[in-house]
Structures are given as C-alpha cells and as structure tokens.
Amino acid sequence: MTELFIIWSILLSQIILGLAMGCALFRMVKGPRAQDRILGLDALYINGMLLLLTFGIRTANTIYFESALIIALLGFVSSIAFSKFLMRGEVIE
C-alpha cells in the first residue's frame, strides 16, 4: 500500500517536471530574442536537475545526486558566460 502510494506520486511528479521542462524548452526554441533563449536554458537545467533528484529517490542511487550537483555547477557557469557574451560580445576580456 505504502509502496504503491509513493511509486505513483514519484511518477506523477516526474511527469509534472517533464511538462515543466517542455515549457522551458518551448521558450528556448521560440524565444523572440537571445536573452529569452538564455532564460529558457536556465529554467531547463534547473528542471532537469530536479528530475534527476526524483530519479535518485526512485532508485536509491547516489550517482543521481552527484550528477545533479554537477549540472547545477556547470549550468551556473554557462549562464554567466552567456550573459557576459550578450553584454560585451566576448566571454573573456
């Protein structure tokens, strides 16, 4: 009973996070300007990180947690680099 309950709620939250990733992906593909695309990418990697955390709860595997941490780190660096590129036209001055 408990097992069924938690498996279904994990599945439901994964579907909801997948929908959220779809919204962010749509904004990234459609976005009228470059800053909209970067904002969509930022939201997309945060949603993907949350999806990996739910996979970690489902399988009790710590490798998902580590990959979520790496996605958070690299996503921050890439968003900062994109913003600097928009502002200056080059990443490293």
Binding site: I16, D42, M49, L50, L53, I57, S83, K84, L86
Partner: protein
C-alpha cells in the same frame, strides 16, 4: 522497488507531499515563463522553481534517505545552498545585459541611463 517498501507510512506521506508540491510549483514557474508578455516580467517566473521547487524536492530526498539509512543526511543542503546563492547572480546579470541591449537599440519602455548631477565641487573648479 525493494527499498521503497522499507519506508514507513509516516515518512512516505511527507515525502509524497513534498515531491508533488515542489514539482507543481516548478510547473507553475515554467508556465509563467511561457505565458508572460515581456522579457522583464518573464525574468521573475523561473525563480519559483529555482527557490521553492529545489528546496522542497531536496527536502523530500533528504527525508527519504534519512529514514531509509537510519541516519542524518545533509548532502542535499549543498544543492540548496548553491542554487540559492547562484540564481540571483545569474538573473541579475542576464537582466543587466538585456537592459544594455535594449538601450543600444533605443527601444521604448526602457529607462534611460541617468546622467550624474553636476556637484558643487565641479562648479567651484570651473
């Protein structure tokens, strides 16, 4: 699903509630990203998922593993602290660069750059 059967009911219910609440809040933030009209209002929407969604889902993961392994677990606090620290930095920089681009193109509805007032010391020198 062997490990999830070991989870008692008093821990399973908070884990489910935290997971569902966090994912629904993240979905609301992403729908806001899709539906809001201008870029500067769209900039606020995904922070819903980056603050509340991350905190709630990390709390669910912490609670689940702490009950299963019967010890305190603080790994997920690392993700929470990191995301909470970095999201405002990223979005402020992004908003600043968008403002810079809009000013260069001379769009309407964007505040002009304020010129510094001539101070008293300048007039004395002149």
């Amino acid at each position: 699903m062997s490990h999830l059967t070991d989870l008692p009911l008093w821990a399973a219910i908070p884990v489910c509630i935290l997971l569902l609440t966090g994912s629904i809040i993240t979905l609301i933030g992403s729908i806001g990203l899709l539906r809001l009209k201008s870029f500067y209002s769209r900039l606020h929407a995904p922070t819903l998922g980056a603050s509340a969604g991350v905190i709630l889902i990390c709390l669910a993961s912490m609670l689940c593993f702490a009950v299963l392994q019967n010890r305190w677990i603080f790994h997920e606090v690392l993700i929470i602290v990191f995301i909470i620290l970095t999201t405002p930095v990223t979005l402020m920089l992004l908003g600043q660069s968008a403002l810079y681009r809009d000013r260069i193109e001379g769009k309407d509805g964007v505040p002009r750059k304020t010129k510094p007032e001539p101070s008293a010391t300048d007039t004395e020198i002149v």
